[in-house]
Symmetry: C2
DNA sequence: AATTAGCACTCTAACCAATAGAGTGCTAAT
DNA sequence: ATTAGCACTCTATTGGTTAGAGTGCTAATT
């Protein structure tokens, strides 16, 4: 829609209509637009504009003589060109931040907490995909002897993600032996990217002096057993909160539509896929409307996502999933803010303290 | 219902009716009972027996001239006195066990996996409450120096539950210092019940020789900061799997009933409460039918639970939540079997190896 | 005394018709 | 270009009708 003089009024009508429909969930009539927006033009004029908008594919009628409802295309134009984002007030931000910061210090818990708060504040379903180890590097490793050949490998990354692995050996080991291996691993692997640990380790095996050779072998064996590359490439955490909000939306009174969306939400793999596809593009905040979603089950839904980071590495996406009739003007800024909160919090968790300043209020 | 000669036939009719209703989800007519069970009595006789059963409160009509449906009381009698449990075949058991054992070695993951398998096999919603630290005792403790005054406390229990806590100190500490504290803690606390750690620690503080006093102080500080008793009393893990199965049940075509149950499932606290109340009673497997549930939102639902153990300590309950019309005869043995699997698996995880024998197929 | 055949009765579910009301599109006048 | 006015369309609700499923009751049968 180009923005000529006469199109300005069309835009105004489309904006009003979209806004009213988002509020009321019912087809919008020319009458209602006139009343709510105190327009000085008549309903007949509004109707003829609506007819134009319909021809252009921005709105449709649910039946021949009904009011109009925005199409996906209508929402798209509304979001990209018409809508004014309604940012959060200082108080709201403060309150959200407080709610989020009651979480423990562990990254995993923070992720969960932020997802829940996002869902509660928005009254939509909150979803979140976090790549725990994406491009992270090793901070330190510790081997703890549990007896009977069982060893606990504790692994801490630079970003403060902690992971435990239980290793079963064929024979019991000496604690002192484990300490030596720990030391060896820490000396050689500190700061190494997780994806390169194995390579580096094999490097040591060739290069280093003989007295440590057996240690390196042990270590390689341990990391081999963990299939380290694979885990670090793929391990992610998925949250999904607020199904109850969906139940209250009038669009999901239709049980088939309800089944469609709940079917998606029940399947973590699908959620992972969807969010993953929003991880790559250069844009931080993304909106996918109705049929823009590849998944047919989401053709009645919209997705608003925003990426978050640790330091300057994108490590996840969070967002909201709901009916296409979504309060975009509020929710876009909200989702973005929540991703910022999470970036802050996670970077704050960073154990090297780089991003520590300014989080005293926690 | 006493089991006199004439009541035997009443029982048979009630059993048949219940079974048929569970299968078909539709009110059962005298005709259907006669056909399906090839009874030699006439439909008129069956009807008069049904009238008696209705007087006694075991079945009801949905309307004046409809077939009958079991009441909660009817189900109760069916389960307690009529139904024959249909145990799993050897192949089914084997297949389930295989599915469950693909989980990692960590207890938390096993809990999740078993819940998911239970839900998939039953086509009902699986729920699970696991008290991680119930009456557990300490296996070992390790303090890992992360620099900048940050210390990672890794805590391993006798049952193999592993927990990480991040501690922030005001000032950096020496690694050697942490090792001394670790050693001190391990020496004094190994095998001590988690709930008694604090007490024991304060004991040491008074009794021990002066040279270690400052260590004990440090340790107390650390455990104080963790509010150890509280965490260990209450920390539990809740799973909930299979909402999609509920969507397919005809009883939940009624959107209000659907909302009622989904509302419950969305709220982890409520699930915790419900399952917790099934943790105490002496019975292992429990069935709660319809209005027997305290929660009004579950008045159309039944809950089948079974407790599981680590060694001989009850540590959790798992079960199924679905419509009162549930395939009890299959699901009771299934739920019990899954709790046994979980007990086995968790006891297998037990790091002292007491229950290790016989799990080679994992 | 228990069982059963037969039949009247009741309720549901599906279908149709009628109506009020909301909202439109079109046309002719401004 | 705008608008008043009006005919038209579609929905949603109501009431009526009918077929069918299933019962309860009664009188006959074993």
């Amino acid at each position: 829609m180009d923005v000529s003089a006469s199109n300005k009024r069309r835009s105004r009508i489309l904006g009003a209509l979209t806004h009213l429909y988002i509020q009321s969930a019912r087809p919008v009539s020319s009458q209602l637009i006139k009343e709510e927006y105190s327009l000085s033009i008549s309903t007949a004029t509004i109707r003829s504009i609506m007819a134009e908008l319909e021809d252009a594919g921005y709105i449709v009628q649910t039946h021949t003589s009904s009011g109009r409802v925005p199409t996906d295309r209508g929402y798209r134009f509304y979001i990209d060109s018409l809508m004014k984002q309604k940012g959060l007030s200082f108080e709201e931000k403060q309150s959200i931040k407080n709610d989020c910061c009651t979480a423990s210090e562990l990254a995993e818990d923070t992720i969960n907490k932020v997802s829940r708060v996002l869902s509660e504040v928005s009254n939509e379903v909150g979803i979140n995909l976090f790549f725990k180890f994406k491009e992270d590097s090793l901070k330190c490793v510790e081997l703890i002897n549990l007896g009977s050949g069982k060893v606990l490998l504790v692994l801490v990354t630079e970003s403060g993600i902690i992971r435990n692995y239980l290793i079963k050996l064929d024979e019991p080991v000496e604690t002192s032996e484990l300490h030596r291996i720990s030391n060896f691993l820490n000396t050689h692997l500190q700061g190494v990217a997780l994806s390169e640990i194995k390579q580096k380790l094999y490097g040591c095996l060739e290069r280093d002096n003989l007295s440590l050779l057996y240690l390196a072998r042990e270590a390689c064996g341990i990391f081999d057993a963990l299939e380290v590359d694979n885990i670090f490439e793929n391990e992610c955490q998925i949250c999904q909160e607020g199904i109850n909000y969906i139940l209250k939306k009038p669009e999901f009174n239709d049980i088939d539509k309800l089944r469609a969306i709940l079917g998606v939400l029940e399947d973590k793999q699908t959620i992972e896929k969807i969010l993953k596809s929003n991880l790559r593009p250069y844009k931080k905040v993304m909106v996918t409307i109705g049929k823009e979603n590849k998944l047919e089950n989401l053709h009645n839904c919209s997705l608003v996502t925003s990426k978050y980071k640790i330091g300057n590495r994108v490590v996840g996406v969070l967002g909201l999933l709901g009916p296409t009739r979504m309060a975009y003007s509020k929710l876009l800024p909200l989702v973005e803010y929540m991703s910022d909160i999470l970036s802050e919090a996670l970077s704050g968790h960073s154990l090297d303290g780089r991003y520590e300043e300014g989080y005293d209020e926690a």
